[in-house]
């Protein structure tokens, strides 16, 4: 750069000072973290007594996590049957990964959407069987006892799946030229987007005795799932609508020139292009779905956060909380970070395909 001072005076540049300060600060933070997590900490295979001499702020007590991790992961699921919950987590995780990978193929070639739908339609009852049991000799577990990581995965994947299918007609309705239908859809979307999720969850849990006929008491996960589906659908509908707006009107005109009616245009011309463009943003809303499942803790459901809170409230471990929060947080970072990497990969691939030069 022509107007910077010569390099032997580089240390007098303000940016050099700021950068050096930042480097020193980061090194100190890294040292403190390492010290807390490993060097002053009690290893997970030690007994509980090893933690007695370690202050909360000086070192971690990993035996605490070792004693509590099953409670945090599976909640009130019966102890002997927890292998079923673990199997469910593995299967659900594998299926979600496969769906995301398959979506790439659908995006590239336009085919294979049917196999995704078939896999989910077949998979969902299998999962229900695995978790809840009750038939074919598998011991039954009440749906209210499905807690922790299986509940998070179940709510997130089913809510995202249901919300996606609900968002497509919502987006079409919002862009419709029939004022009645467009007005209804706009009312719904703006109402749902203006109110926090906690209010809807509270409404579902406190108002069901009033809103539903007496005697209808759906189990708690079903209520939470319905709220999440209707909530996420509004946000996804806005994403799909934005993508539809990006499609040039030439496409619509060409479709009507060939003689395609409204529904055929949408199904064969508009929605494939819109969904292809919207896929990174839809992946981001899947991340939001995973994080929103944590909010069900506010209405008393024991997802991973609720199980973590009950593990922390055990007084015999001296009020430590950081180890459990780090454990739960790392699961969320793994899940959401994975989907976030996928979404960034999609954006890069999309830019290359559409000819952007950066």
């Amino acid at each position: 750069m022509m107007l910077q001072p010569p390099s032997r005076l580089a240390w007098r540049r303000p940016s050099f000072i700021a950068n050096s300060l930042a480097v020193v600060l980061l090194a100190w933070l890294a040292w403190k973290t390492l010290d807390w997590a490993i060097m002053s900490a009690a290893p997970p295979w030690a007994t509980a007594d090893a933690c007695r001499n370690i202050q909360k702020s000086q070192g971690a007590c990993w035996p605490f996590l070792a004693a509590k991790f099953r409670l945090v992961l599976f909640g009130r699921y019966p102890y002997e049957e927890q292998w079923r919950a673990a199997l469910f987590v593995a299967l659900a995780g594998a299926m979600i990964v496969w769906t995301l990978w398959q979506a790439l193929r659908v995006r590239r070639t336009g085919r294979g959407a049917r196999s995704i739908a078939m896999a989910w339609i077949v998979g969902l009852p299998c999962w229900a069987l695995l978790l809840v049991g009750g038939v074919a000799g598998i011991p039954a577990v009440s749906l209210d006892n499905v807690d922790g990581l299986p509940l998070t995965l179940l709510l997130a994947s089913m809510a995202a799946f249901g919300a996606f299918w609900l968002s497509l007609p919502l987006a079409l309705a919002r862009r419709s030229e029939l004022p009645g239908i467009a007005g209804l859809a706009t009312l719904y979307i703006e109402f749902v987007r203006g109110v926090p999720l906690v209010a809807f969850l509270f409404m579902a849990f406190a108002l069901t005795p009033i809103l539903l006929p007496s005697g209808w008491v759906p189990p708690a996960p079903v209520r939470a799932l319905c709220v999440l589906v209707f909530f996420l659908a509004a946000y996804m509908a806005e994403i799909v609508r934005g993508a539809m707006q990006n499609i040039s009107t030439g496409q619509y005109e060409a479709a009507s020139t060939i003689g395609l009616g409204y529904w055929k245009t949408m199904r064969l011309v508009v929605l494939p292009q819109a969904l292809r463009q919207a896929l990174p943003s839809l992946a981001n809303s899947f991340i939001s779905a995973i994080k929103d499942t944590a909010v069900v803790f506010t209405v008393g459901m024991f997802d991973m956060l609720g199980a973590a809170e009950s593990a922390i409230s055990d007084p015999s471990w001296g009020g430590r909380f950081l180890e459990i929060y780090v454990f739960v947080g790392s699961f969320y970072v793994l899940m959401c970070g994975g989907v976030s990497l996928y979404s960034r990969h999609l954006e890069r691939v999309g830019n290359k395909q559409s000819g952007a030069t950066r």
Binding site: V23, L178, E190, G194, V195, P209, I210, A294
Partner: protein, 323 residues
């Protein structure tokens, strides 16, 4: 075959009738269940006395005052914490956004790792973490040693110096008298935890928006500014950021709305904002429907108001900008 126009009217009429049928079913359920329980739908309960207290608020409230006043106190708490969170998150977000485009690779990658971690963990987990830190991570009042002589960090709150001393100095410093700390101003641990959690979470989203806005300004602007002799920081401040603001405003506004709605998560950390007051009022009086309706209307009103202002601002920007 029906004409095109007739089909359109029929479709709209069918949609509206379907929605009204569902609404009528819900309303009939409500009417039947309420009458079976002997309750009535009315907002008169708001004049009744509240049996709960609202711990802290700009509108002072004690147990025994009217429920309407409790709701107003809760609303003032929501607005307070949201406004402060928006302010703090903007400042933090701009700083981290600038760090994310720093030429130093270490700073850039650390900021990226930090933002990714914050954005990939649920806000509720972060709020619980900060709340636990505020209530259990600090010593109690007797053992706390003051920082700089005037700031106490205890598990019952943060005690900071307040303006307006008692005739001897400009600041009134908190100090330990007996078992308590008096003087100065105190911030409850719930409020502090909530505010810090919201600021950090919102700041990371805003940093992404700031980064996107800065990257959207053409590189020629930065190069021209540097050619004029400005250093990098002044080029950013005087040339790039003002132009980036136009791209940043719509997503920033939706992030502000998200912060406002996220403040409702305070129900788990004990800060008495609107949602929590509504839940307490429901459990006291049993008028769940009215309380929820009040909460929804308040949030809707504020959200739609802010969105309308943003639309006006957007429309003015489009009129002025050279497209």
């Amino acid at each position: 075959m029906m004409t095109y126009r007739a089909r359109r009217w029929l479709a709209q009429a069918a949609a509206i009738c379907a929605v009204m049928a569902v609404a009528a079913w819900f309303i009939s359920n409500v009417a039947r269940n309420l009458s079976a329980a002997g309750l009535r739908l009315d907002f008169g309960f708001l004049e009744g006395a509240a049996t709960f207290a609202v711990g802290e608020s700009l509108v002072p409230f004690e147990s025994g005052q009217s429920l309407l006043r409790a709701f107003v106190a809760g609303m003032s708490n929501t607005v307070t914490v949201s406004a402060l969170a928006i302010l703090g998150a903007t400042v933090l977000g701009v700083t981290i956004g600038i760090a994310r485009i720093s030429p130093t690779s270490l700073i850039r990658r650390t900021a990226q790792a930090y933002v990714e971690t914050i954005r990939n963990t649920p806000l509720l987990l972060q709020l619980l973490f900060w709340h636990s830190l505020m209530t259990q991570g600090f010593p109690n009042a007797l053992e706390a040693s003051p920082i700089l002589g005037c700031v106490f960090l205890t598990n019952r709150g943060l005690y900071l110096p307040a303006l307006g001393g008692n005739g001897e100095s400009w600041l009134s410093c908190p100090e330990l008298t007996g078992f308590n700390i008096t003087g100065g101003m105190s911030v409850s641990p719930e409020f502090a935890g909530l505010l810090i959690g919201l600021v950090i979470y919102g700041g990371s989203y805003i940093s992404e928006i700031v980064r996107g806005g800065i990257l959207a300004v053409p590189r020629g602007q930065t190069e021209a500014a540097l050619a004029c002799g400005l250093n990098r920081f002044d080029a950013l401040r005087l040339v790039v950021l003002p132009q980036a603001l136009r791209t940043m405003v719509p997503p920033m506004t939706s992030q502000y709305l998200n912060l406002l709605k996220s403040s409702s998560l305070a129900v788990t950390v004990g800060y008495p904002e609107l949602m929590r007051v509504s839940i307490a009022a429901t459990s006291q009086t049993g008028h769940a429907l009215e309380c929820i309706a009040i909460v929804m209307l308040v949030y809707l009103f504020i959200s739609l108001g802010i969105a309308a202002c943003m639309n006006l601002y957007n429309r003015r920007q489009l009129a002025y900008s050279v497209r």
